[in-house]
């Protein structure tokens, strides 16, 4: 039964990974930019929430009302300025610039806060859970995060496929020149996509901060790699693939933790490398255009 429990926990954590990954996936899909600062942005969001809660004393859970729009705005501004300028140069420049951003954010956090780890205080919710049978316990928080992740992915899917703005994003992603000839301002569309990506990563950062403790280095050490692995395992261009990738990663990690807790992260990364070798197209089998 403990194995079943591990799988269930893995699925739930996989939802969190997918939430992290969808912004990365969106930015790559639309702008061909891999944002190496993605993990650090999530950590910054958690720190901002810490500050917001510290000042306003609102319940932590509601801090997203402020943090998510803030990050969406930040995403739009960064895309229109720094990332767009790097894009004009080359794709490799975007890598260098986002990597620089990542290192600057991480060292800035170390400078302004400390290397100590923090966590977002959500009272008793952090440990509340319900049991199914004798072995399976499900934490309300993790379940809530999973539901939020699926809801965000569903919403994003609906937005991209059915709304005017979403179709515009897909048009620009498919063929920038043709979209521009039809009157779309691709820079604005890029900005919108970045805003969505940053909003989701802020949400993911808040969820992570409630679920676990965080410190300035965890963004690059773990979150970026997990998000990236979820995207690649799932296969590009598919939000459901990203969810599947996140869940697979979470399940592999939890199963490995059953054997030896220290091998949890290693197992996930080896699974990623194996999938890269045997199924370079990822689980959903779409053609990789990287």
């Amino acid at each position: 039964m403990s194995w079943v429990n591990a799988i269930i926990q893995g699925i739930l954590i996989g939802g969190l990974y997918a939430l992290f990954a969808c912004g990365l996936s969106l930015m790559f899909g639309v702008m061909k930019v891999i944002n190496l600062a993605h993990g650090d942005l999530a950590v910054v969001a958690a720190y901002v929430a810490l500050g917001v809660v510290g000042i306003t004393h609102v319940p932590t859970v509601w801090s997203f009302i402020l943090v998510v729009p803030l990050f969406a705005g930040l995403g739009y501004v960064l895309q229109r300025s720094l990332i767009q300028a790097a894009l004009r140069r080359s794709i490799l420049t975007t890598l260098l610039v986002t990597f620089g951003l990542s290192v600057v954010i991480e060292n800035g956090l170390l400078q302004f806060t400390s290397a100590n780890s923090h966590s977002l205080d959500i009272g008793s919710l952090v440990s509340d859970s319900f049991s199914i049978g004798s072995q399976i316990t499900i934490a309300y928080l993790l379940l809530a995060i999973f539901i939020v992740a699926v809801a965000v992915l569903l919403g994003l899917q609906y937005f991209l496929s059915s709304t005017r703005q979403g179709r515009l994003i897909r048009a620009v992603a498919d063929d920038r020149e043709a979209a521009q000839l039809s009157g779309a301002d691709y820079r604005h569309v890029f900005g919108i996509a970045a805003a969505i990506a940053f909003g989701t990563v802020a949400l993911a950062g808040l969820a992570f901060g409630m679920y676990s403790s965080f410190d300035p280095t965890i963004g690059t050490d773990q979150l970026l790699l997990f998000a990236f692995e979820a995207v690649v395992i799932g296969g590009l261009g598919s939000l459901w693939g990203t969810l599947a990738g996140g869940i697979l990663l979470g399940v592999v990690q939890q199963l490995a933790a059953q054997v030896n807790a220290a091998d949890q992260i290693l197992a996930g990364q080896l699974a990623f490398l194996v999938i890269l070798v045997v199924m370079p197209q990822g689980l959903t089998g779409q053609r990789r255009t990287a």
Partner: protein, 397 residues
């Protein structure tokens, strides 16, 4: 590419380009060669005249210079932006530790560790070669993380806390400092000399072509994947040597520090700021890095934040870095890897700065050096040769 190279390599052959002389170096390069020898001799003599604190700092300079030069070869020439070179830094350090644990002299273990990293580089290349740009970058990062997680599983290597390097117990500390310094200097000189040699060879011409336009390079028959594999292995070996130096200079190794992505950050920042795609860039960048670090040491990691911001700005608005600006302004190349074209009548040793201009590299391209046979790089009107005059680019074939 062969016709270009042959023509350039045998400039004396009588045909229509006999009105143009092709040289690889100019006076500035000869002076630079003499200067390099003088600098190396002075650096080699330093342990006799300065305190060990200075040589210890210089060892760190040499380590970063080696890494940055290797990353420059990888990203600046072969177009492979890796953020996982710390995998080889860490492995180089741990290979030395393994050999020293078995009784080897750590200095003797350094070349072995370098070679071992080159060997590890091959399967890693097999894994990452199917990926491009961002995918390549993050996958190399994942591999570095995997290397670290595997190493810390071995208690005999100190597990997660690291281990001290045995093998130096009966060596006088002063001598040890001096030996370490000389080895570090030797590794750096060999690294830069090898890169110079590679870039002046056929492979170098291919690399320059890949740097300027990968698709174009493929279309004229450059064996891009093979060249990239070669360079990846060389860079793995170079970073391994830097890691070996790291453990020898610190006499211990700690897995999170050895495999830290901070190494990649340092090599990338240093190369970008100095000037990516030139041999001089990483050298200049490393010097700037340490000057900044020493000046701002009392303000924590601020020097690193500043460096990161400057690197971002340089990458976007001055992609050829500080060396690129200097080289354009003064038209000098300390390590000539391209070709200079001289029309009939002009001398390869003009006097005075105004005439110290061969054919200028085009302003727009990333190319630093004039590569014979590429008409795109000929052009400034006030240069000794005009594109339309007699460049090899428009000769008959």
């Amino acid at each position: 590419m062969s016709s270009v190279e042959q023509r350039a390599a045998r400039p004396g052959q009588a045909n229509r380009q006999s009105s143009v002389r092709v040289t690889r170096s100019r006076r500035s390069a000869l002076l630079a060669g003499i200067g390099a020898v003088v600098v190396v001799v002075i650096l080699a003599y330093l342990p006799y005249i300065v305190l060990s604190g200075t040589t210890d700092l210089l060892v760190n300079v040499f380590i970063l210079m080696t890494m940055a030069s290797m990353w420059n070869l990888l990203a600046g020439y072969a177009g492979l932006v890796s953020v996982g070179q710390q995998a080889f830094v860490g492995l180089g350090a741990y290979f030395v530790l393994i050999l020293a644990n078995h009784g080897a002299n750590p200095f003797a273990a350094l070349p072995a560790a370098t070679l071992a990293c080159a060997v590890v580089g091959l399967p890693v290349w097999w894994l990452v070669s199917r990926l491009r740009s961002g995918y390549f970058a993050i996958t190399t990062w994942v591999i570095a993380s995997v290397c670290e997680l595997i190493i810390i599983r071995y208690p005999s290597l100190g597990g997660g806390t690291g281990a001290a390097l045995p093998g130096f117990t009966n060596l006088d500390p002063t001598l040890l400092t001096a030996y370490t310094y000389w080895i570090a200097l030797a590794v750096t000189v060999v690294t830069i000399a090898s890169i110079y040699a590679i870039l002046r060879s056929r492979v170098g011409l291919m690399l320059t072509a890949i740097r300027d336009d990968e698709t174009g390079a493929r279309s004229v028959g450059a064996r891009v994947p093979r060249t990239q594999r070669w360079i990846f292995v060389v860079a793995a070996a170079g970073c391994g040597a830097a890691g070996a130096l790291l453990i020898i200079s610190q006499l211990s190794v700690e897995p999170t520090a050895a495999f830290s992505v901070q190494w990649s950050a340092e090599m990338i920042f240093v190369t970008i700021i100095g000037g990516i795609g030139t041999i001089e860039g990483p050298i200049l960048g490393t010097i700037i890095f340490f000057v900044l670090q020493q000046t701002l040491a009392s303000y924590g990691t601020w020097y690193f934040i500043i460096l990161g911001l400057v690197a971002m700005i340089v990458a976007i608005w001055a992609p050829r870095g500080i060396w690129g600006l200097i080289a354009d302004r003064l038209n000098i190349r300390l390590f000539p890897v391209g070709y200079w074209l001289w029309p009939a009548g002009s001398t390869p040793r003009p006097r005075g700065l105004a005439r110290l201009r061969g054919i200028r590299a085009s302003e727009s391209g990333a190319a630093g050096d004039v590569v014979a046979g590429d008409p795109g790089h000929l052009g400034a009107d006030d240069s000794p040769a005009r594109a339309g005059d007699a460049g090899p680019g428009d000769s008959t074939d």
